[in-house]
């Protein structure tokens, strides 16, 4: 496919070619008309006016091409992104990770949404292993200000000596994108982000007991978020 610059050059080249063609025809016609002495008949459009028309047409067409180009680029860019925030209140430096859009890297999100209910979102609660997942899925039309999904992940286990390995994945029929994060077990994490159509967001926890003699893996939990 052509780049925007190539398209502009092509349009400019065609415009110059058209202008040269018209210049040649115009010169021939006005010479013929002056030699014949014929004053009546349809007047020809002068070169300055044609140049003005070509410039306006070039700029207009350029704007249309640019609009289509930006629209297409916007369609092609993925919305898949997410962030994880530790929302333990007394933690002054909340653990945070994100994949995709850096603007989600903002702990203030945690204060905007509640675990009980959020307007414009459907709520669902899933329990798996030692975790309870409270999922909110957007019911309104997507915009740039509200995430498509929210997921509060609460650890209900008793052990605080474990390490956790979190795998956050965007999964579609043809594509999988994993993000890995490790750390100590946190009571409550908030996952939120956006999803392209056809993608699911999968959260997988592996709790690791580094001190164990036989099996390091203490337990695991998983949830898949799929928008309607």
């Amino acid at each position: 496919m052509f780049t925007l610059l190539e398209i502009y050059f092509m349009i400019a080249f065609l415009a110059v070619l058209g202008l040269l063609g018209y210049y040649s025809v115009y010169t021939r016609k006005i010479n013929r008309r002056i030699q014949s002495g014929e004053v009546s008949g349809k007047k020809l459009v002068g070169i300055p006016r044609i140049i003005t028309v070509f410039v306006i047409a070039f700029l207009s067409f350029g704007c249309v091409v640019l609009s289509f180009y930006l629209l297409k680029e916007d369609e092609e860019s993925s919305r898949n992104d997410f962030a994880i925030i530790n929302i333990v209140e007394e933690d002054e430096d909340p653990y945070q990770a994100y994949g995709g859009n850096p603007r989600l890297n903002d702990p203030a999100y945690a204060g905007l949404y509640s675990k009980k209910s959020n307007a414009g979102y459907d709520k669902e609660v899933i329990k798996d292993g030692d975790y309870i997942f409270t999922i909110f899925k957007r019911t309104s039309f997507p915009d740039n200000f509200h995430p498509d999904f929210l997921c509060f992940a609460e650890y209900m286990g008793k052990r605080d000596d474990l390490y956790v390995s979190i795998t956050s994945s965007f999964v579609s029929a043809s594509d999988t994108d994993h993000h890995l994060d490790n750390g100590g077990v946190s009571d409550r994490l908030l996952f939120f982000g956006n999803l392209d159509p056809g993608f699911d967001f999968k959260i997988h926890f592996d709790l690791i007991d580094k001190a164990a003699k036989e099996s390091f893996k203490a337990s695991s939990a998983e949830v898949t978020i799929r928008l309607n």
Binding site: Y26, T27, I30, R33, I34, V39, S40, K43, G46, I47
Partner: protein, 148 residues
Amino acid sequence: MRLRLRLNRDTEEQVKEELKKREIEISEDASLILTEENYYDERIFCKDEQGTAIVSLNKICHIESLGHDVYVYTMDKKFKTELRIYQLASLLPPEQFIRISNSVIIQRNSINHIRPGLSCKFFLTLKNGAQVDVTRTYYYKFKEFYGI
């Protein structure tokens, strides 16, 4: 009574007959002048190396002012005139002559080749070989005059 006539050709004979009937003498020396509206003389008085020359309007290719001097060009000769270019512009018949810049007047049929400029200009090559420009001020008047 003696009268000097300044009439266009198509009305001249008719007026002469009328004046004869009324016994009015027609003379080029008369101090009284009868001038028709839109009358244009068919010649202008110029100077060349030999002295005063009468140049027929039909023979003029173009008129150009260079500094303080105004020159009348025919196909093969060049004359000097005492008239200023703006005076000539009003003395010459407007259907036969057109001013194309502040310093040039051309005869209608004197153009050999015309080349349009990219801005509001035309570059003319006249039948006597002279090259003159139609300037921006006279561009649209020129287009209107030739219907181009």
